[in-house]
Amino acid sequence: MKACLSNALSSYPYEWELTPQNSPTDPFVFEEGLLKEDLWSFGYFWSEVVRQFPTIEQLYRAIYDLHQKIETIKESFRLQAESFPEWRMEPNESRGVCGSYFLVDEEGERRFVVKPLDEDAGCIHSDGFATPFTSSPFRSNIPLYRSSMREVLAYRVAVAIGVGSIVPKTELGIFTSDQFHRFSEGIDGKELSRYFEECGPEGREKLCSVQEYVPHAKSLFEALHELEGGGLSDEEIAHRFDQTDFEDANILLWTNYDTDGHMGNFLVYPKGVDEIGNEILSLKKIDHGLAFPDKNRQLKNSLSYLPNAKRPLSAEGKAKIAAVDGEQLAKQFEQMGLESAVAALKERISILQALAKKTDITIQEIDRAMSKIGKKL
Protein backbone atom coordinates (compact mmCIF):
# COMPACT_ATOMS: atom_id res chain seq x y z
CA MET A 1 0.00 0.00 0.00
CA LYS A 2 2.81 2.38 0.88
CA ALA A 3 4.52 1.93 -2.47
CA CYS A 4 1.25 2.52 -4.23
CA LEU A 5 0.69 5.66 -2.20
CA SER A 6 4.17 6.96 -2.83
CA ASN A 7 3.68 6.51 -6.53
CA ALA A 8 0.34 8.26 -6.44
CA LEU A 9 1.73 11.21 -4.56
CA SER A 10 5.01 11.59 -6.37
CA SER A 11 4.10 10.99 -9.99
CA TYR A 12 2.17 14.19 -10.65
CA PRO A 13 3.83 15.83 -13.61
CA TYR A 14 2.25 19.23 -13.14
CA GLU A 15 4.29 21.18 -10.68
CA TRP A 16 5.46 24.51 -11.98
CA GLU A 17 6.67 23.67 -15.44
CA LEU A 18 5.03 23.16 -18.78
CA THR A 19 3.67 19.71 -19.48
CA PRO A 20 5.14 17.68 -22.33
CA GLN A 21 3.26 17.51 -25.59
CA ASN A 22 0.97 14.54 -25.99
CA SER A 23 2.25 11.61 -27.97
CA PRO A 24 0.33 10.22 -31.00
CA THR A 25 -0.83 7.32 -28.85
CA ASP A 26 -2.68 9.54 -26.40
CA PRO A 27 -6.20 8.36 -25.67
CA PHE A 28 -7.42 11.93 -25.84
CA VAL A 29 -9.08 13.35 -28.89
CA PHE A 30 -9.28 17.12 -28.89
CA GLU A 31 -9.93 19.79 -31.37
CA GLU A 32 -6.94 22.05 -31.62
CA GLY A 33 -7.50 25.06 -29.46
CA LEU A 34 -5.69 27.45 -27.25
CA LEU A 35 -7.07 28.53 -23.92
CA LYS A 36 -8.58 31.93 -24.53
CA GLU A 37 -11.42 32.38 -22.10
CA ASP A 38 -11.73 31.27 -18.48
CA LEU A 39 -14.66 28.90 -18.85
CA TRP A 40 -13.63 27.00 -15.71
CA SER A 41 -13.72 29.75 -13.06
CA PHE A 42 -10.00 29.62 -12.36
CA GLY A 43 -10.20 33.34 -11.62
CA TYR A 44 -7.03 34.50 -9.92
CA PHE A 45 -5.11 31.53 -11.28
CA TRP A 46 -6.18 31.93 -14.90
CA SER A 47 -3.01 33.55 -16.19
CA GLU A 48 -0.87 30.84 -14.60
CA VAL A 49 -3.18 28.13 -15.96
CA VAL A 50 -2.77 29.55 -19.45
CA ARG A 51 0.99 29.74 -19.01
CA GLN A 52 1.27 26.13 -17.92
CA PHE A 53 -1.48 24.63 -20.08
CA PRO A 54 -1.68 26.62 -23.30
CA THR A 55 -4.22 24.31 -24.91
CA ILE A 56 -7.51 22.79 -23.83
CA GLU A 57 -6.00 19.41 -24.60
CA GLN A 58 -3.22 19.94 -22.09
CA LEU A 59 -5.57 21.31 -19.47
CA TYR A 60 -7.95 18.37 -19.74
CA ARG A 61 -5.11 15.91 -19.70
CA ALA A 62 -3.92 17.41 -16.41
CA ILE A 63 -7.41 17.33 -14.91
CA TYR A 64 -7.98 13.78 -16.09
CA ASP A 65 -4.72 12.79 -14.41
CA LEU A 66 -5.77 14.52 -11.22
CA HIS A 67 -9.06 12.63 -11.15
CA GLN A 68 -7.13 9.38 -11.47
CA LYS A 69 -4.64 10.35 -8.77
CA ILE A 70 -7.40 11.40 -6.35
CA GLU A 71 -9.02 7.99 -6.76
CA THR A 72 -5.69 6.22 -6.28
CA ILE A 73 -4.94 8.14 -3.10
CA LYS A 74 -8.42 7.44 -1.76
CA GLU A 75 -8.05 3.72 -2.35
CA SER A 76 -4.57 3.78 -0.79
CA PHE A 77 -6.06 5.08 2.45
CA ARG A 78 -9.34 3.19 2.45
CA LEU A 79 -8.11 0.70 5.02
CA GLN A 80 -7.04 3.52 7.35
CA ALA A 81 -10.40 5.28 7.10
CA GLU A 82 -12.72 5.03 10.10
CA SER A 83 -16.47 4.44 9.89
CA PHE A 84 -18.82 7.20 10.93
CA PRO A 85 -22.60 7.33 11.40
CA GLU A 86 -24.63 8.35 8.38
CA TRP A 87 -25.40 11.78 9.75
CA ARG A 88 -26.33 14.86 7.80
CA MET A 89 -23.55 16.78 6.05
CA GLU A 90 -23.88 20.56 6.31
CA PRO A 91 -21.62 23.13 4.62
CA ASN A 92 -19.46 25.14 7.02
CA GLU A 93 -20.32 28.66 5.95
CA SER A 94 -17.61 30.24 8.08
CA ARG A 95 -14.88 28.02 6.72
CA GLY A 96 -11.51 29.31 5.61
CA VAL A 97 -10.34 28.86 2.05
CA CYS A 98 -10.66 25.06 2.19
CA GLY A 99 -13.84 23.08 1.73
CA SER A 100 -15.31 22.18 5.11
CA TYR A 101 -18.53 20.58 6.30
CA PHE A 102 -20.17 19.69 9.59
CA LEU A 103 -21.41 16.21 10.31
CA VAL A 104 -24.62 16.83 12.25
CA ASP A 105 -26.29 14.16 14.40
CA GLU A 106 -30.01 13.36 14.72
CA GLU A 107 -30.41 16.00 17.45
CA GLY A 108 -28.98 18.66 15.19
CA GLU A 109 -25.69 18.84 17.09
CA ARG A 110 -22.48 19.36 15.15
CA ARG A 111 -20.25 16.41 15.91
CA PHE A 112 -17.41 16.49 13.39
CA VAL A 113 -15.71 18.83 10.93
CA VAL A 114 -15.18 17.07 7.59
CA LYS A 115 -12.64 18.33 5.05
CA PRO A 116 -12.41 16.56 1.68
CA LEU A 117 -8.91 16.03 0.36
CA ASP A 118 -9.72 17.39 -3.07
CA GLU A 119 -11.37 20.60 -1.80
CA ASP A 120 -8.24 21.98 -0.18
CA ALA A 121 -7.40 25.43 -1.56
CA GLY A 122 -5.64 24.90 -4.88
CA CYS A 123 -7.05 21.39 -5.41
CA ILE A 124 -9.24 20.74 -8.41
CA HIS A 125 -12.56 20.55 -6.53
CA SER A 126 -11.90 23.59 -4.32
CA ASP A 127 -14.81 26.02 -4.16
CA GLY A 128 -13.29 29.29 -5.27
CA PHE A 129 -9.63 28.26 -5.44
CA ALA A 130 -9.54 25.41 -7.95
CA THR A 131 -6.36 24.89 -9.94
CA PRO A 132 -4.97 22.05 -12.06
CA PHE A 133 -1.64 22.38 -10.23
CA THR A 134 -0.11 20.04 -7.69
CA SER A 135 1.78 22.51 -5.55
CA SER A 136 -0.02 24.97 -3.31
CA PRO A 137 -0.59 28.45 -4.73
CA PHE A 138 -0.75 29.66 -1.12
CA ARG A 139 2.58 28.37 0.18
CA SER A 140 5.85 27.27 -1.28
CA ASN A 141 7.04 23.85 -0.14
CA ILE A 142 3.52 22.50 0.50
CA PRO A 143 2.48 19.83 -2.01
CA LEU A 144 -1.25 19.60 -2.67
CA TYR A 145 -3.47 16.52 -2.22
CA ARG A 146 -2.10 15.72 1.22
CA SER A 147 -4.24 17.99 3.42
CA SER A 148 -6.37 15.23 4.96
CA MET A 149 -3.23 13.34 5.86
CA ARG A 150 -1.73 16.47 7.42
CA GLU A 151 -4.83 16.99 9.56
CA VAL A 152 -4.65 13.43 10.87
CA LEU A 153 -0.89 13.56 11.28
CA ALA A 154 -1.14 16.73 13.37
CA TYR A 155 -3.38 14.92 15.83
CA ARG A 156 -1.15 11.86 15.92
CA VAL A 157 1.99 13.96 16.40
CA ALA A 158 0.31 15.93 19.19
CA VAL A 159 -0.52 12.69 21.00
CA ALA A 160 2.95 11.26 20.38
CA ILE A 161 4.77 14.26 21.87
CA GLY A 162 2.50 14.60 24.89
CA VAL A 163 0.39 17.59 23.84
CA GLY A 164 -2.64 15.63 22.68
CA SER A 165 -5.20 17.98 24.22
CA ILE A 166 -4.21 20.73 21.78
CA VAL A 167 -5.62 19.07 18.63
CA PRO A 168 -9.18 17.74 18.45
CA LYS A 169 -9.18 14.03 17.65
CA THR A 170 -8.86 13.63 13.89
CA GLU A 171 -9.22 10.56 11.71
CA LEU A 172 -9.57 9.76 8.05
CA GLY A 173 -13.01 8.98 6.68
CA ILE A 174 -14.59 8.31 3.31
CA PHE A 175 -17.91 9.99 2.65
CA THR A 176 -20.41 10.39 -0.14
CA SER A 177 -22.48 13.56 -0.13
CA ASP A 178 -24.42 15.73 -2.52
CA GLN A 179 -23.15 18.68 -0.51
CA PHE A 180 -19.57 18.19 -1.66
CA HIS A 181 -18.27 20.68 -4.15
CA ARG A 182 -17.22 19.59 -7.62
CA PHE A 183 -15.09 21.36 -10.20
CA SER A 184 -17.88 21.07 -12.79
CA GLU A 185 -20.04 23.46 -10.73
CA GLY A 186 -17.82 26.32 -11.87
CA ILE A 187 -17.64 25.37 -15.55
CA ASP A 188 -19.53 27.34 -18.14
CA GLY A 189 -22.54 25.40 -19.45
CA LYS A 190 -21.28 25.43 -23.03
CA GLU A 191 -18.08 23.63 -21.96
CA LEU A 192 -19.55 21.07 -19.58
CA SER A 193 -20.21 18.23 -22.00
CA ARG A 194 -16.66 18.36 -23.38
CA TYR A 195 -15.29 18.43 -19.84
CA PHE A 196 -17.14 15.27 -18.85
CA GLU A 197 -16.31 13.62 -22.16
CA GLU A 198 -12.58 14.24 -21.76
CA CYS A 199 -12.12 14.07 -18.01
CA GLY A 200 -14.72 11.48 -17.08
CA PRO A 201 -17.35 11.60 -14.35
CA GLU A 202 -16.60 13.22 -11.00
CA GLY A 203 -16.82 10.85 -8.05
CA ARG A 204 -18.95 11.87 -5.10
CA GLU A 205 -17.14 9.59 -2.68
CA LYS A 206 -14.27 11.50 -1.11
CA LEU A 207 -11.38 10.87 1.22
CA CYS A 208 -11.66 13.37 4.08
CA SER A 209 -10.19 14.33 7.40
CA VAL A 210 -12.77 14.09 10.16
CA GLN A 211 -12.13 16.17 13.26
CA GLU A 212 -14.17 16.27 16.44
CA TYR A 213 -16.17 19.48 16.66
CA VAL A 214 -15.26 21.74 19.60
CA PRO A 215 -18.46 23.11 21.15
CA HIS A 216 -18.67 26.41 23.04
CA ALA A 217 -15.46 27.67 21.46
CA LYS A 218 -14.53 30.91 19.76
CA SER A 219 -11.48 31.97 17.80
CA LEU A 220 -8.46 33.28 19.68
CA PHE A 221 -8.81 36.45 17.61
CA GLU A 222 -12.28 37.07 19.00
CA ALA A 223 -11.39 36.04 22.55
CA LEU A 224 -8.42 38.40 22.63
CA HIS A 225 -10.53 41.29 21.45
CA GLU A 226 -12.96 40.71 24.28
CA LEU A 227 -10.07 40.84 26.74
CA GLU A 228 -8.44 43.86 25.09
CA GLY A 229 -11.79 45.58 24.81
CA GLY A 230 -12.27 45.02 28.54
CA GLY A 231 -9.14 47.02 29.20
CA LEU A 232 -7.09 44.15 30.61
CA SER A 233 -3.34 44.60 30.96
CA ASP A 234 -0.86 42.19 29.39
CA GLU A 235 -0.37 40.51 32.75
CA GLU A 236 -4.10 40.15 33.28
CA ILE A 237 -4.52 38.64 29.82
CA ALA A 238 -1.67 36.23 30.43
CA HIS A 239 -3.36 35.12 33.65
CA ARG A 240 -6.50 34.20 31.69
CA PHE A 241 -4.76 31.50 29.65
CA ASP A 242 -3.70 28.14 31.00
CA GLN A 243 0.08 28.40 30.70
CA THR A 244 0.67 24.66 30.31
CA ASP A 245 -1.77 24.46 27.41
CA PHE A 246 -0.22 27.61 25.96
CA GLU A 247 3.21 26.01 26.06
CA ASP A 248 1.88 22.78 24.59
CA ALA A 249 0.35 24.66 21.66
CA ASN A 250 3.69 26.31 20.96
CA ILE A 251 5.56 23.01 21.17
CA LEU A 252 3.11 21.57 18.64
CA LEU A 253 3.59 24.46 16.21
CA TRP A 254 7.38 24.20 16.39
CA THR A 255 7.27 20.44 15.91
CA ASN A 256 4.90 20.69 12.93
CA TYR A 257 6.41 23.93 11.62
CA ASP A 258 2.94 25.27 10.99
CA THR A 259 2.90 28.04 8.41
CA ASP A 260 -0.70 28.98 9.21
CA GLY A 261 -0.80 29.48 12.96
CA HIS A 262 -2.74 32.73 12.87
CA MET A 263 -5.20 33.64 15.59
CA GLY A 264 -8.19 32.47 13.59
CA ASN A 265 -6.80 28.95 13.58
CA PHE A 266 -6.84 28.62 17.37
CA LEU A 267 -10.03 27.87 19.21
CA VAL A 268 -10.43 29.12 22.75
CA TYR A 269 -12.68 27.45 25.28
CA PRO A 270 -13.22 27.82 29.01
CA LYS A 271 -11.26 25.28 31.03
CA GLY A 272 -12.08 26.45 34.53
CA VAL A 273 -12.22 29.55 36.72
CA ASP A 274 -9.66 31.35 38.83
CA GLU A 275 -9.99 32.24 42.51
CA ILE A 276 -12.20 35.25 41.76
CA GLY A 277 -14.37 33.63 39.15
CA ASN A 278 -12.62 34.67 35.91
CA GLU A 279 -12.64 32.07 33.16
CA ILE A 280 -9.34 30.33 32.54
CA LEU A 281 -9.03 29.69 28.83
CA SER A 282 -7.46 26.86 26.96
CA LEU A 283 -6.51 26.42 23.32
CA LYS A 284 -7.01 24.03 20.48
CA LYS A 285 -5.20 24.31 17.17
CA ILE A 286 -7.31 23.58 14.11
CA ASP A 287 -6.52 23.58 10.38
CA HIS A 288 -3.19 21.88 9.77
CA GLY A 289 -3.37 21.91 5.99
CA LEU A 290 -0.33 24.19 5.80
CA ALA A 291 1.81 22.41 8.38
CA PHE A 292 4.60 19.86 7.72
CA PRO A 293 6.32 21.76 4.89
CA ASP A 294 9.02 20.11 2.82
CA LYS A 295 11.36 22.92 3.86
CA ASN A 296 11.43 24.80 7.16
CA ARG A 297 10.36 28.19 5.94
CA GLN A 298 7.65 30.67 6.92
CA LEU A 299 6.77 29.47 10.42
CA LYS A 300 3.67 31.34 11.52
CA ASN A 301 2.87 31.41 15.22
CA SER A 302 0.66 34.23 16.40
CA LEU A 303 0.81 32.84 19.95
CA SER A 304 4.34 34.18 20.19
CA TYR A 305 2.92 37.72 20.40
CA LEU A 306 0.84 37.06 23.49
CA PRO A 307 2.24 38.02 26.90
CA ASN A 308 2.34 34.34 27.93
CA ALA A 309 5.14 33.88 25.40
CA LYS A 310 7.43 36.19 27.38
CA ARG A 311 7.60 33.62 30.16
CA PRO A 312 10.44 31.11 30.28
CA LEU A 313 9.71 27.64 28.99
CA SER A 314 8.83 25.48 32.00
CA ALA A 315 10.76 22.42 33.10
CA GLU A 316 7.80 20.32 31.94
CA GLY A 317 7.91 21.94 28.52
CA LYS A 318 11.64 21.33 28.27
CA ALA A 319 11.11 17.69 29.17
CA LYS A 320 8.44 17.27 26.50
CA ILE A 321 10.73 18.72 23.84
CA ALA A 322 13.69 16.61 24.98
CA ALA A 323 11.53 13.50 24.67
CA VAL A 324 10.44 14.17 21.07
CA ASP A 325 11.59 11.19 19.02
CA GLY A 326 12.25 12.39 15.48
CA GLU A 327 12.69 8.87 14.14
CA GLN A 328 9.34 7.74 15.48
CA LEU A 329 7.62 10.81 14.11
CA ALA A 330 9.27 10.19 10.74
CA LYS A 331 7.59 6.78 10.62
CA GLN A 332 4.24 8.42 11.17
CA PHE A 333 4.97 10.89 8.38
CA GLU A 334 5.76 8.00 6.05
CA GLN A 335 2.61 6.17 7.05
CA MET A 336 0.64 9.23 5.94
CA GLY A 337 2.50 9.65 2.65
CA LEU A 338 4.51 12.66 3.79
CA GLU A 339 7.99 11.26 3.18
CA SER A 340 9.04 14.47 1.46
CA ALA A 341 8.61 16.35 4.76
CA VAL A 342 10.80 14.07 6.87
CA ALA A 343 14.15 15.77 6.25
CA ALA A 344 12.75 19.12 7.37
CA LEU A 345 11.24 17.47 10.45
CA LYS A 346 14.57 16.01 11.54
CA GLU A 347 16.36 19.29 10.94
CA ARG A 348 14.00 21.32 13.10
CA ILE A 349 13.65 18.82 15.93
CA SER A 350 17.38 18.84 16.59
CA ILE A 351 17.38 22.66 16.59
CA LEU A 352 14.34 22.79 18.88
CA GLN A 353 15.89 20.37 21.34
CA ALA A 354 19.10 22.39 21.46
CA LEU A 355 17.16 25.62 22.07
CA ALA A 356 15.06 24.09 24.84
CA LYS A 357 18.19 23.20 26.79
CA LYS A 358 19.09 26.86 27.23
CA THR A 359 18.58 28.19 30.74
CA ASP A 360 15.64 30.57 31.16
CA ILE A 361 14.92 30.75 27.45
CA THR A 362 11.45 32.16 26.85
CA ILE A 363 8.79 30.79 24.54
CA GLN A 364 9.14 33.88 22.40
CA GLU A 365 12.91 33.48 22.11
CA ILE A 366 12.49 29.90 20.98
CA ASP A 367 9.90 30.97 18.45
CA ARG A 368 12.10 33.69 16.99
CA ALA A 369 14.97 31.24 16.66
CA MET A 370 12.78 28.58 15.07
CA SER A 371 11.46 31.17 12.59
CA LYS A 372 15.00 31.80 11.41
CA ILE A 373 15.76 28.24 10.34
CA GLY A 374 16.99 28.34 6.79
CA LYS A 375 17.28 32.12 6.69
CA LYS A 376 20.61 33.78 6.00
CA LEU A 377 21.89 35.68 9.02
Binding site: F45, H225, M263, G264
Partner: protein, 102 residues
Protein backbone atom coordinates in the same frame (compact mmCIF):
# COMPACT_ATOMS: atom_id res chain seq x y z
CA UNK B 1 -18.36 32.08 -1.70
CA UNK B 2 -14.74 32.75 -0.89
CA UNK B 3 -13.94 33.88 -4.40
CA UNK B 4 -16.72 36.42 -3.97
CA UNK B 5 -15.09 37.46 -0.75
CA UNK B 6 -11.78 38.01 -2.51
CA UNK B 7 -13.47 40.12 -5.15
CA UNK B 8 -15.31 42.05 -2.47
CA UNK B 9 -12.07 42.83 -0.72
CA UNK B 10 -10.60 43.96 -4.01
CA UNK B 11 -13.49 46.40 -4.25
CA UNK B 12 -12.73 47.47 -0.70
CA UNK B 13 -9.16 47.99 -1.75
CA UNK B 14 -10.37 50.38 -4.40
CA UNK B 15 -12.35 52.25 -1.77
CA UNK B 16 -9.23 52.53 0.36
CA UNK B 17 -7.23 53.72 -2.58
CA UNK B 18 -9.68 56.56 -2.94
CA UNK B 19 -8.71 57.69 0.55
CA UNK B 20 -11.87 56.76 2.41
CA UNK B 21 -11.13 56.00 6.06
CA UNK B 22 -12.21 52.46 6.94
CA UNK B 23 -12.15 50.38 10.07
CA UNK B 24 -12.42 46.69 10.80
CA UNK B 25 -14.92 46.17 13.57
CA UNK B 26 -16.08 43.26 15.70
CA UNK B 27 -19.79 43.87 15.24
CA UNK B 28 -20.70 41.92 18.38
CA UNK B 29 -18.61 44.02 20.75
CA UNK B 30 -17.83 47.13 18.72
CA UNK B 31 -14.09 46.52 19.19
CA UNK B 32 -12.10 48.19 16.42
CA UNK B 33 -9.27 45.97 15.26
CA UNK B 34 -7.62 48.46 12.91
CA UNK B 35 -8.46 51.72 11.26
CA UNK B 36 -6.98 52.91 7.99
CA UNK B 37 -6.94 56.67 7.72
CA UNK B 38 -5.02 58.87 5.29
CA UNK B 39 -2.80 55.98 4.31
CA UNK B 40 -1.93 55.06 7.89
CA UNK B 41 -2.93 52.03 9.90
CA UNK B 42 -3.99 52.59 13.49
CA UNK B 43 -4.21 49.30 15.36
CA UNK B 44 -6.32 48.95 18.49
CA UNK B 45 -5.39 45.26 18.68
CA UNK B 46 -1.94 45.74 20.22
CA UNK B 47 -0.89 42.13 19.70
CA UNK B 48 -1.79 42.15 16.05
CA UNK B 49 0.07 45.43 15.59
CA UNK B 50 3.32 43.94 16.88
CA UNK B 51 2.81 40.87 14.74
CA UNK B 52 2.30 43.01 11.66
CA UNK B 53 5.53 44.88 12.43
CA UNK B 54 7.64 41.81 13.12
CA UNK B 55 6.17 38.94 11.10
CA UNK B 56 4.13 40.89 8.58
CA UNK B 57 1.73 39.46 6.05
CA UNK B 58 2.88 36.47 4.05
CA UNK B 59 1.99 36.94 0.40
CA UNK B 60 0.85 33.72 -1.32
CA UNK B 61 2.98 32.90 -4.36
CA UNK B 62 0.05 33.38 -6.72
CA UNK B 63 -0.37 36.99 -5.59
CA UNK B 64 3.32 37.86 -5.43
CA UNK B 65 3.32 39.79 -8.70
CA UNK B 66 0.67 42.20 -7.45
CA UNK B 67 2.82 42.91 -4.41
CA UNK B 68 6.06 43.71 -6.18
CA UNK B 69 7.28 40.11 -5.88
CA UNK B 70 7.60 40.55 -2.13
CA UNK B 71 7.21 37.46 0.02
CA UNK B 72 6.20 39.41 3.12
CA UNK B 73 4.67 42.85 3.61
CA UNK B 74 5.35 44.51 6.95
CA UNK B 75 3.47 47.31 8.70
CA UNK B 76 4.89 50.53 7.32
CA UNK B 77 5.31 49.23 3.80
CA UNK B 78 3.37 51.32 1.24
CA UNK B 79 1.62 48.10 0.21
CA UNK B 80 0.59 47.18 3.75
CA UNK B 81 -2.96 48.49 3.50
CA UNK B 82 -3.56 46.58 0.28
CA UNK B 83 -2.02 43.44 1.74
CA UNK B 84 -4.11 43.63 4.89
CA UNK B 85 -7.33 44.12 2.99
CA UNK B 86 -6.75 41.77 0.10
CA UNK B 87 -4.70 39.02 1.74
CA UNK B 88 -4.72 39.03 5.53
CA UNK B 89 -8.39 39.77 6.01
CA UNK B 90 -9.79 37.17 3.60
CA UNK B 91 -7.30 34.44 4.51
CA UNK B 92 -6.96 34.91 8.26
CA UNK B 93 -9.91 36.88 9.57
CA UNK B 94 -12.91 36.69 7.23
CA UNK B 95 -15.77 35.98 9.54
CA UNK B 96 -19.25 37.46 9.83
CA UNK B 97 -18.29 38.90 13.21
CA UNK B 98 -15.62 41.12 11.63
CA UNK B 99 -16.79 43.66 9.10
CA UNK B 100 -15.39 46.73 7.41
CA UNK B 101 -17.14 49.99 8.19
CA UNK B 102 -16.68 53.57 7.04
Amino acid sequence: MKRTLFLATSALGAAFASGEPMKLVNIKTGFIVVEFKEGKAEFRDRFLEVEMKETGILIPPFLAKTFGDKEVIFLGDPLFEKAFIEVYYPLCIANVVYQWQN
